[in-house]
Amino acid sequence: MLQYTIRRLLAILVTLLVIATLTFVLMHCIPGGPFASEKELPPPILQNINARYHLDWPLWKQYFDYLAHLARWDLGPSFKYESMTVNDIINNGFPVSATLGGIALGIAVIFGITAGIIASMNQYKWQDNLVMFLATIGFSVPSFILASLFIFVFSYKLGWLPAALWGSPQQVIMPALALSALPTAFIARMVRSTMLEVLAQDYIRTAWAKGLSGGLVVYRHALKNALLPVFSYLGPLTAQILTGSFVVERIFAIPGMGRHFVTSIANRDYTTIMGVTIFYSIILLLANFLVDIAYAYLDPRIKVAGGKE
C-alpha cells in the first residue's frame, strides 16, 4: 500500500509537470499579451514593462524561471491586478469557492442519494416519475438560467433574498442551489440505476425472503454496493465544485476563484493562468487519488496492484 501511495504521488508530480508545460506553451501560442490594449502603449513604456516582468526573455528561460518559482509555490504577481499576487488570488478566492462548493456538494450528495433511493424503491410510480422529471430539468437547464431565474423570483419578485454579493447566510442560498442542481440530478439518476441493478440481485432477493424490513435491506445490503459508482464520480466533482464556477460566481458577484479560470485567459494574465490551472490540477489529482485509496477499502473486489493479498 505504501509503495502504491508513493508511486501514485510521483505520478501526480509528473502529471503536474506535463500540465504546467502544456499550459505554458499553449498560453504563449495565443495572440495578444497581458499589456495589449486598445489605447496602445508607447513602445518605450511597453519595453519597460516587459523587462520588469521578464517577458523580454526567451521563452525557455521564462519557462524554467517559472518552474523554479513554482517549486517554492511562488506563483508570481498578477499582471492584471497590481494589488495582488497569484497566491493572493488563490488564498482569497479558494476559501470562498470552497465554502460555496462544499455546501453545494452537501446538497447534491444528500438530496441526490435520497431522491435516487426513493425513485428506485418506487420504480415507475409517481415518486419515480417526479424524481426523474426533476433530474432531467436539473440536468438540462444550464446553471446561468437557473441562477437568473432564482434572482428573478426570489429577489426581484418576492424580495426574500439579496440578489448578489457574499458575506451573509442568505447570500449563500441561491448560488448554492444553482451550483448543486446538476450534480444532484446526476447523482439521483446514478443512484437510481445502480440501485435498480443491485435490487435485482439474488442476494437482495434472499434478504427479502428472510423477511428483513425494507429499510434494512436497502441500508445494509443494497446501498453499499449501489453507492460505489457515485463515490468514484465524487473525485472529479469535488475538485470541480470546490474551485468554483465562472458562471455562478459572475452572476452572483461572488469573490471566488472560479471566474479566474476564464478571465485570466481573456486578460492574458500569464501568471494567473498558470497559477489557477496548476492549483486546480493539484486538487483534481489529489481528489482522484483519495477516491482510489478509499475505493480499495470500500470495494473488496478491488485490489491495489502490488498490494499484499
Binding site: A36, K39, I45, E82, S155, Y156, G159, A163, R250
Partner: protein, 550 residues
C-alpha cells in the same frame, strides 16, 4: 443628450475655457456649493452604494488606466484642479498664473492636508509627477505627462536626470510647470488622476504596495479607503482631514463589483444599489418608459476603420460609398437605444471651441449626410463597381460581443440593400486576438471605439497622424499631419481650433474611418441620490453627492 443637458454641458465647458484663458488667480473656491439644502432635506444616513463594475486593477493613481479605477481615484484624491458639474474648479491649487507664451504655469497651493494630517505641498506634486514619468514605475498612462518639458525624454530613458523634467516646487506652496509646447488643455489635465499628488513618505516606504491597504493608502481627497474586499466591494468613508470637508455630505460610499448586467439591474431595482450605469440593453426600452433611465454625455465615438492599404479600401470613393450607405439614425434608435447620437463627423459633442461657450462639433457641423444612398451608389459606380459588381469580398472584423455583432449585421444588411454588395462576411474574434489583427493590419473593415482622455479635439485627432500607433488603417495624408503639427505648436486657441477643423474635414473627406455614433452614458440612479457628477470622460464623482430624505 437632451437639449437641457447639452446647454448645461456647454456651460461647464465655457467655465473650463475661461479658466484656460489664463486669467490667473481665479480662486472660485470660496464660493459655497449651491443647491445643497439644509439638513432638513437630507436623509439621516448618508451612505451611497454604486456598482463600480469590476475589481480595480490598482488604486495607485500613477498606474491606473481604467474607469473603475478612476471612480475610486476621484473619491480618494484631489488634484490641482477638479472637474465638476460647474466646470473646472480650483482644488489643491487655489489659483495659478500662465506666462505670456503659454509655456509656464505657476500654481499657488492652498492649505490642504493628507488623510494622516500632514500638509499637502508642492513637493508632493513634483514627486508624484516625476514618479509617474520614471521608467521604473511602469506607468501605462505616463504619456499624460508628455506635455511637460522633457517628460517624454525622461520616460523613454533618453535623459536620466529627473531635475530636467519641467516640474518644480519653488516652495512648499508654489509649483512651477514648464510645458514642451503650448497646450491650452493642460489645465484640465491637472484634474486627471495620473497627475494627482502622492504622499512621498508613504510611497517611498512602501513603493510597490502602498495603495493596496487602508493602512498605507494616504490620500488627500473627499474620502479615505476603509475596506477593500477584493472582487466584492470597496468601502470609502469621509476624510475628516479634507480641505473642503464641509462640501462633502456623504459619510460612506460603497462601491460594489457586480459584473453581470442583469444582476446589478435587479439589485438597483430592489434598492440594494443606489446608482448603476450601463443597464442591459434589453431592459432599456422598459426603463425609458418607466422614466428610470438618465442619459449623460460621454466623450466617445464608435466607428469602423478601413484598411487603406488593402484593395478596394485604398480607393476613397469606395470608402465614402460604404460610409454614406449606412443609416445611423436607425442604428441608434433601433439597436443601441441608449440615447447615442448618429456620428456624421469624428470628434464628439462636448469639447469647447475657441469662442467661449461654443462647441467644437457644433461649429464643425456634419461632414456628410446620413443614409445618402444616391451619392453612395454613384461613388461606387465611379470606382468601377456599379451595383456592387466586381467588388472583392469584404470582411467586417469585431471583437466578440453581442452589441458589436448586431451592429455589424445591420451594416452588412444596409450595404447589401442600399449598394447591392452581396459578399460581406462577419468575423468576430476574442478581444486580444482582435487587437492583434488590428495591429497587424489583418482586416478589411474593423470595428473600433475611442474615449477621449481630455477635453480637446486633439485627444481624437492626433490618432490619425501617419506615424501614430493607433492609426491601424494606415491612412496617411501629409496635409493632415501638417495641420495637426501646427495645432500642437501654438497656444492660440483660435489658430489651433481652425487647424483642427481643417484636419477633421480632410479626415472625413477622405473617409479614413467611418463614424457610426457618439457614445452616451446610460445611468440609473434613484431620485433621492443628488449631485453625482457624471464626468463625460467616464468615472462618476461623488464629492458633492448626497442622499435626500426618501
Amino acid at each position: 443628450m437632451g437639449k437641457k443637458s447639452l446647454t448645461l454641458l456647454i456651460g461647464i465647458l465655457l467655465a473650463a475655457a475661461l479658466t484656460l484663458a489664463g486669467c490667473g488667480g481665479g480662486g472660485g473656491s470660496e464660493e459655497k456649493q449651491q443647491g445643497v439644502p439644509g439638513t432638513g432635506g437630507m436623509a439621516a444616513e448618508q451612505v451611497l452604494t454604486y456598482n463600480n463594475g469590476t475589481e480595480p486593477e490598482t488604486l495607485d493613481p500613477a498606474k491606473m488606466t481604467g474607469i473603475p479605477e478612476g471612480t475610486v481615484a476621484y473619491a480618494l484624491f484631489d488634484g490641482l484642479t477638479r472637474m465638476t458639474a460647474k466646470g473646472l474648479e480650483p482644488a489643491i491649487a487655489k489659483s495659478w498664473d500662465v506666462s505670456e507664451d503659454g509655456l509656464t504655469y505657476t500654481f499657488h497651493l492652498r492649505d490642504a492636508k493628507w488623510s494622516n494630517g500632514d500638509p499637502v505641498t508642492a513637493h508632493d506634486f513634483e514627486f508624484a509627477w516625476k514618479r509617474a514619468l520614471d521608467p521604473d514605475t511602469l506607468s501605462e498612462y505616463a504619456y499624460q505627462l508628455y506635455y511637460i518639458k522633457n517628460g517624454q525624454a525622461f520616460n523613454e530613458g533618453k535623459i536620466t536626470d529627473p531635475n530636467q523634467v519641467g516640474v518644480k516646487a519653488l516652495d512648499e506652496k508654489t509649483l512651477e510647470v514648464t510645458l514642451e509646447a503650448p497646450a491650452p488643455y493642460f489645465l484640465s489635465l491637472t484634474s486627471f488622476y495620473t497627475l494627482f499628488p502622492l504622499h512621498r513618505a508613504t510611497v517611498e516606504a512602501h513603493p510597490d504596495d502602498w495603495a493596496n491597504s487602508p493602512e498605507t493608502l494616504v490620500c488627500n481627497g473627499p474620502f479615505v479607503l476603509d475596506k477593500w474586499e477584493h472582487q466584492a466591494k470597496i468601502e470609502l468613508v469621509k476624510n475628516k482631514n479634507y480641505w473642503d470637508a464641509d462640501s462633502v455630505k456623504l459619510d460612506k460610499v460603497v462601491l460594489t463589483m457586480v459584473e453581470e448586467e442583469s444582476t446589478y439591474l435587479t439589485m438597483w431595482e430592489n434598492g440594494e444599489l443606489d446608482s448603476i450605469e450601463q443597464p442591459p440593453i434589453n431592459d432599456i426600452p422598459r426603463l425609458k418608459q418607466e422614466g428610470k433611465l438618465q442619459i449623460k454625455p460621454y466623450l466617445g465615438v464608435y466607428y469602423y476603420i478601413f484598411n487603406t492599404k488593402k484593395e478596394p479600401f485604398d480607393d476613397v470613393r469606395v470608402r465614402k460609398a460604404l460610409a454614406l450607405a449606412i443609416d445611423r439614425q436607425a442604428i441608434v434608435e433601433k439597436i443601441t437605444k441608449r440615447g447615442e447620437k448618429p456620428a456624421l463627423a469624428y470628434v464628439p459633442y462636448g469639447i469647447p471651441d475657441a469662442e467661449p461657450g461654443s462647441d467644437f462639433r457644433e461649429i464643425g457641423g456634419d461632414y456628410f449626410k446620413d443614409n445618402d444612398i444616391e451619392t453612395a451608389k454613384q461613388l461606387l459606380a465611379d470606382a468601377g463597381y456599379p451595383g456592387g459588381k466586381g467588388l472583392p469580398p469584404i470582411t467586417i472584423l469585431y471583437n466578440t460581443r453581442e452589441d458589436h455583432k448586431i451592429i455589424a449585421e445591420a451594416v452588412q444588411e444596409m450595404w447589401k440593400k442600399n449598394l447591392g454588395i452581396e459578399n460581406v462576411t462577419l468575423t468576430n474574434q476574442e478581444w486580444q486576438v482582435y487587437l492583434d489583427s488590428r495591429d497587424e493590419g489583418n482586416f478589411h473593415v474593423a470595428r473600433a471605439g475611442w474615449i477621449g482622455d481630455y477635453f480637446d479635439p486633439m485627444t481624437f485627432l492626433d490618432m490619425y497622424v501617419s506615424t501614430n500607433l493607433q492609426n491601424d488603417g494606415k491612412w496617411s495624408n501629409a496635409e493632415y499631419d501638417q495641420l495637426i503639427a501646427a495645432a500642437k505648436s501654438t497656444g492660440d486657441q483660435k489658430a489651433r481650433m481652425e487647424a483642427m477643423h481643417k484636419a477633421e474635414k480632410i479626415l472625413m473627406d477622405e473617409m479614413a474611418i467611418m463614424p457610426i455614433y457618439f457614445y452616451s452614458h446610460a445611468v440609473c440612479e434613484h431620485e433621492y441620490v443628488k449631485d453625482t457628477y457624471w464626468n463625460p470622460l467616464g468615472p462618476p464623482d461623488f464629492k458633492y453627492a448626497w442622499i435626500a430624505k426618501h
